[in-house]
């Protein structure tokens, strides 16, 4: 059902009025809680607070590329139209998040490590992730036929996902400066609960905002692709009335 562009359009019209306020409120609550009310760190003082932007952005960028890879698989193997639309919709916000992750990481690195940049495993992986987002966007920009562009980008994203994993492990034997994950899906997190909950909240908020962005982009793309179809023309007429 979700594979049909028309169904997607009506479905997202119903979801968005709910999703937008929930995303904005969650993100705002997480950020205000984290930036203003969470306790300061006993070693890093207040400079650690950038974590409430840095970690959500990094996780969003990673998840976005994984989603690109999955959409790529669906688009190349099953040629599903909505997966092709998703390939176009997911990439820009993910690239922006990767850039935000790099910038906030650099700003955080200066007071804590004494340097803006180190060729450490995680930073290098994020930089390469940004490069690969750029590749996916650039390839889609030059191929004229939208279906062909999406499938080409999808194949690139699939190769890219394999590459992300290999890069992650191949840079790890270079001395790593970055701290390990403080949030753990299983087992005890090494972060204080007073910091953990605002962090989880801002992560959730940013992911929801990402979802909103993807839905909006996908809707525009669907309308453009289906501009000659009856249902879009009917929609336009109703809108003009």
């Amino acid at each position: 059902m979700l594979g049909s562009p028309r169904y997607f359009y009506t479905f997202s019209s119903r979801v968005l009025p709910w999703l937008v306020p929930i995303a904005v409120l969650t993100l705002a609550a997480g950020l205000v809680w984290g930036l203003a009310f969470a306790p300061s760190d006993y070693q890093q003082g207040n400079s650690y607070r950038i974590i409430f932007i840095h970690v959500p952005a990094s996780s969003g960028a990673l998840m976005g590329y994984m989603a690109l890879g999955v959409s790529g698989l669906v688009a190349v193997v099953w040629r599903m139209k909505m997966a092709e639309v998703m390939l176009k919709a997911i990439a820009p916000f993910g690239a922006a998040l990767a850039a935000i992750s790099l910038v906030t990481g650099a700003l955080w690195g200066k007071p804590t490590w004494g340097t803006y940049w180190q060729w450490d495993a995680r930073m290098t992986s994020m930089l390469i992730l940004l490069f690969m987002y750029v590749g996916v966007i650039a390839l889609q920009a030059v191929i004229r036929d939208p279906r062909q562009a999406a499938r080409a980008a999808g194949l690139l994203a699939m190769v890219g996902v394999i590459n992300v994993v290999i890069v992650k492990y191949s840079v790890e034997w270079v001395q790593t400066l970055h701290q390990g994950s403080t949030l753990k899906m299983f087992g005890e997190s090494t972060i204080d609960p007073a910091m953990k909950y605002p962090l989880l909240l801002s992560m959730l908020g940013l992911w929801l905002l990402y979802a909103v962005n993807v839905l909006l982009r996908a809707r525009t793309e669907v309308i453009w692709r289906e501009r000659r179809s009856k249902w879009v023309n009917k929609l336009v007429k109703e809108d003009n009335r």
Binding site: V76, A152, L155
Partner: protein
Amino acid sequence: MNAFRAALGRELLVLWRSPAEIINPLFFFVMVISLFPLAISPKPELLATVAPGVLWVAALLAVMLSLDGLFRRDQESGVLDMLLTAPVMPVVPVLAKLLAHWLLTGLPLVLISPLLGHMLQLPDAALGTVMLSLLLGTPALTIVGAIGAALTVGLNRGGILLAVLVLPLYIPVLIFGAGAVSAAAGGANVDGILAILGALLALTISLGPLAVSAGLKISSGN
């Protein structure tokens, strides 16, 4: 197997008859490397430190640039459409094409690399590792780059776009390739790093031709 041999023979012959495509990457490799002593400094100890990276980056760029026109002639002459209209994935002819291309453009880079390594003041003990790492690495670079070449075959502005697509994918091979040479220059054992390079090569040989075929199908609108 017969189909593979026939395709390989054809590709070798076609490449052999356009010697510029074989010689240019080789000269590119030599020229780029000779820029570094002029640009950085001819001091032997400094050159020896940067040599592994310089050798590997230059080889990587030479392989990548040689791939730009990999499928273009086949596309212009219609051979590509013939391959793609067949009911099976064109993995066999693609593999033959990649092998032929590597034999005539990648292998010469491997063969000349000890000379260039020596000119960059690498210790003699590391020159074997230079060759071995390039021998394992350049085929992987050829195959991964061919995915990018397949995706951009119909576009008239290959060069820079190909680089943007392919360079991030080259990074693991570059890290282990240059890492092996650095380790060898420092007198360390490099078996482990070379084994990882071999593993990357095995991965690209097994999955790469599939991805290249799929890319060609997408580019030709099938």
